[in-house]
Amino acid sequence: MAIDLEQFHQVFFEESLEGLEAMEHSLLEITPDNVDPEIINTIFRAAHSIKGGSGTFGFEQITDFTHVLETLLDEVRDGSRQITDQIVDLLLKSCDCLRTMVNQLQAKQPIDDTEARPLIAAFEAILAGQETATTPTSPKTAEPATTESTPATTESSATMNAEDYNDLVMASVSTMLNGDNEPAGQAASASPSGNTDTDGRWKIHFVPEPQILLTGNEPNRIFRELASLGNLSVEADTSKLPDFEDLVVDECHLSWTLWMDGEVDKDDILDVFDWVLDECKLEISREGESELSASTTTEQPEPESQQEPQQEQQPSEPAAVTPAPATTTQATTPAQATTATDAQQTAPSTGASASASASSIRVGIDKVDSLINLVGELVITQSMLSQLSSNFEMSDIERLNNGLEQLLQNTKELQESVMRIRMLPISFAFNRFPRMIRDLAAKTGKKVNLIVNGEQTELDKTVMEQIGDPLVHLVRNAIDHGIEPSEERIAQGKPEDGTITLDAYHRGGNIVVEISDDGRGIDPEKIRTKAIEKGIIGGNEELSKSQIYDLLFEPGFSTAAVVSDISGRGVGMDVVRRNIKSLGGRIEVESELGSGSVFRVYLPLTLAILDGQLVRVGDQTYIIPLISIVESLQIKPELVNRASGNTILYRLREDNVPIIPIYQEFNIDADNKELENGLLVVVESAGQKIGLLVDDLLAQQQVVIKSLESNYKRVEGISGATILGDGSVSLIIDIPGLINRVAGGSDPINRSNHTQAA
C-alpha cells in the first residue's frame, strides 16, 4: 500500500508497551480462586490490540505470539478454561518476551525468538489439554505434544516461526482453527471444495461486516488497489441486502467475489486487505480449490497467523489430511507454494537510522484544554493592551495597570499549566514493583505482600525517570536483606508474609517516597563492625545511629552475608544515594531491630520553578521557598529564651523555635543584628522549625531555579540561584539543608519520628 506505515511504528511501540504494562498489572491481580472477568477482559484487550497492531505493521512474530496468547485468554474468558498459577506465570513471562520483541523492533534489530519458542510450546501444550505440563525447557519436547493433540481438541493452536518449516511446506494440510464462537464464519467459507489444484486465478471472497463503512474503509478503494495488482473482475452479492425501508445508509450488506490473475502474490492481496481484516470475512483461494483462509472475526483477525499454523503442523502431521475433526475444520489440499513466502515478508524494511526512541508523554485532555483556555485569555489581554497603547493618555494609566495585572495573572497560570503537563502520577514508577516483588519473592522463597499508597502523587517527569532505578534497588534490598524467611518470621511471632509498603506523599516542598518493610531491621552494631572491617571508619569513632546508617551508602559497603544475584555486592547503595542527590533529593534511613526499616527518599517537587519569598539581609536578597514558610513575625523580646548551651529559642505558641540569624550563618553583613524587634521568618522542614532572622521582607514571586553547580559547586545552605527582574542573581535558601547544617548532624531519625508524632 502506498501509505508509509513506518511513521506509525513509534505509536505502535508505545501502545504495545503500555498494553503490556496493563496486562502485567492485571495479571498480578489475578488469583486462581478469584477471577474477575473484567480483569481477564483487560488482559485480553491488551493482547488483542498488540496483535492487531503488529498484524497491521507486519510484525509477524509478535502477531503469531500474541495469537496463541489470545487463544488461551479467549478460553479463559468464555469460561471453558480455569486460570491457574501456571497460566499466570506463563502469561507474565510472555509479557516479558513481548516486551523484548517490541524493544528489538524498536531498535530495528531482528527479533530473537529463542525466548518465545518455549513459551509458545508451553501455551500449545496447555491448549492441548496438558495443563500439568510444567514450563517447558525446550521447544523440542513440547511441540510434538501439541501437534498430536491439536486435531483432537479442535481448538485453535499452533502458530509461530513458520520460517523453520517453510522449506518443507509444499502441500498444506491442516486442521482449521476457528474460534468456536464464530457461527457466520462457516457459512461464508463454504466455498466448493476438493477440486484439482490448477494454477488458476485467485478467487477472493470478501464479506465485510455491516459496520465496515463506519471505520472509513471503502471497499471500492480496496478493489481499486487490487486492480492495480493485476486483472480483476468483481461480482457483487446483493442477496443480503435488506428491504429498502430497513436499509441503513451506512451499513454495508454487500459481499463480493473477486477474481484475480494467478501470478499475483498472495501476500500482496492480503496486504490490500490489511486494514479491514478485523471487520470482514476474507477467503482467498485458487480458482477451483478451496483454501479456507482466515474467516476473520474480531477474535482472530489476522490471516497470516492462521495460515502459518497450517504449514507448521503439516510436516509432523500428515495423517490429518482428510479428517476434519469436529465442527470447523476443513481439509485443504492444494499446493500453496505462495504461502511459503509469508514468513519472508517480515517486518518492513528497516530505515537506515536507528530509532532514537523519541520519548513522549501522555497528557490528559483537561490539561491541554486548560492551556488552550489560558492562551485564549492571553490573546485577549494582549489585544487589549495593544489597543490601549495605540492611543495612550495619562488617564488610561489605571487601565494599563489593570491590563498588566491581568497579563501577570495569565502568565502565571500559563506557567503553572505548562508545568503541570510535566507532572505524572508516581504510579508510573510504582507500577513495576508488584511484578518485581512477585518474582523476587519467588526467587528468594520468601512470602511478601506489597502495599502501595499515594500512587496519585504527582512528580516531575524528569525526576520520575531518574528515580526508578534507585527505588528498584531499595525494594530489592528490602526483600533480600529486610524480610526474613517465613520460618524465621513465624519463630519471631510475626505474620508469615512479609509486608513491603511503598508510599508517596507531599511534605513541605518535597515529595517523599517511602519504602518500608517489616523485616529484621538494620543492626547498627553490625554495620559499625563491618565498616571498621572495610576500613571505612576507624575503630574509635563515636557515631550516632544515623551516622551509622549513613555508612550504608558508602561505596563498597555490603552487609549481606551471602552475595546473591538480587543484591549484596555492595555496589548500589552509594549509587542510589548519588542518583538521589543529583536530583536535589536526599535519603534517610530509620530502622528498628527486629521490626523493620524505612527508607525515605526526599525529592524536589519540581526541578524548575518555585514560589519564593524574597528577603533582604544587608545588601543581599535571598529567596525562601514559600512552601516551607510557616509564618513571619516580629520578635517580641520577652519570648526569646536562651537554653541548652547558648541556643537562642523563640517561643512560638507551644514550640520553642531556635533562632538562626542568616547573617551569621552565611557570614555576611546585616543591617540589624539585634534580636529585639527583628523580623523572624519561621520555616519548617521535616517537622523541624527554625526562625531565620532577616532584615526585611520583600515581595513574593515565582522564580526559575538555576543551578549553581553547573559552573560552580554545591553550596551548603543554598539550593540554587535565580535571576530577579532587574537581572541580578539571588540565591535560594535550602531550608532542609540549612536545618541539617545547624542541627550539626543531630539524629535525623529522631527528627522524623518527631514529624510523625506531630
Binding site: Q620, F666, S710, N711, V715, E716, G717, I723, V729
Partner: protein
C-alpha cells in the same frame, strides 16, 4: 607567497610594547592581561567575553577570592578575583576593573567562570618553542596552573592553564 610572510605587512594597531600581532599564524594565540605589574596569558579560544566589573551576589561561606555569582544571559557564573587568589596587587574595584569570562569544555561538562583582573593588555602569538618552562622557584601561584613563560621584549608573560584555572575552585575550595 607564503601566508606567513603576509603578516609583516599587517599594521600594528596603537602603541604597544609587544611585537606586531600575527593574525594568521600557526602558533597559538593568548589573551594577555595584567595583575599589578605582572603579565599573564590565557588561551584566547577559551575566552568567552570580557566585561566590566559589576557587583556580584555573594556566595555564603565561600573562600574570600570567590566574589560571588553574576548573571550572564541567564547563566549563573561565579566570579573569582585572581588578584586575591594569587595574592598579587591591591584589591580595588573601579569601573575599569575587568572580568574575563573563560569557558572550558571537558568530557563531563562545560564550565564557565569569570576572573577579575586589573586590565586586559593584548593578544600574544606564541609558537611551541617560544614557550619556556615555568621558573623552578615556586611563586604564589600553584605550579600546575602555569603552562609556561613567554618572553616578550623585556617582559615575561606567564601563560596560565585554563583547564586548571577553572577547576581551581573545586580543588582548593
Amino acid at each position: 607567497m607564503e601566508l606567513q610572510d603576509l603578516s609583516e605587512f599587517i599594521p600594528v594597531a596603537g602603541e604597544t610594547n609587544l611585537e606586531g600581532i600575527n593574525f594568521i599564524s600557526n602558533g597559538e594565540q593568548y589573551l594577555t592581561f595584567c595583575l599589578d605589574s605582572e603579565q599573564y596569558g590565557v588561551d584566547i579560544l577559551s575566552v568567552k567575553e570580557i566585561r566590566g566589573w559589576e557587583l556580584p551576589t555573594l556566595i555564603p561561606n565561600s573562600p574570600h577570592y570567590v566574589k560571588g555569582v553574576i548573571n550572564i544571559r541567564g547563566m549563573i557564573i561565579p566570579i573569582i578575583d585572581l588578584r586575591i587568589r594569587f595574592g598579587i596587587g591591591k584589591i580595588d574595584y573601579t569601573p575599569a576593573t575587568v572580568v574575563i569570562v573563560l569557558s572550558v569544555e571537558n568530557a563531563e561538562r562545560q564550565y564557565m567562570m569569570g576572573f577579575v583582573v586589573d586590565a586586559v593588555s593584548d593578544v600574544l602569538n606564541a609558537e611551541g618553542e617560544d614557550i619556556k618552562p615555568a621558573p623552578f622557584v615556586a611563586g604564589s601561584i600553584p605550579r600546575d596552573l602555569v603552562k609556561g613563560l613567554v618572553n616578550v621584549q623585556n617582559d615575561a608573560v606567564t601563560l596560565l592553564n585554563v583547564e586548571q584555572l577553572l577547576t581551581l575552585e573545586e580543588v582548593n575550595g
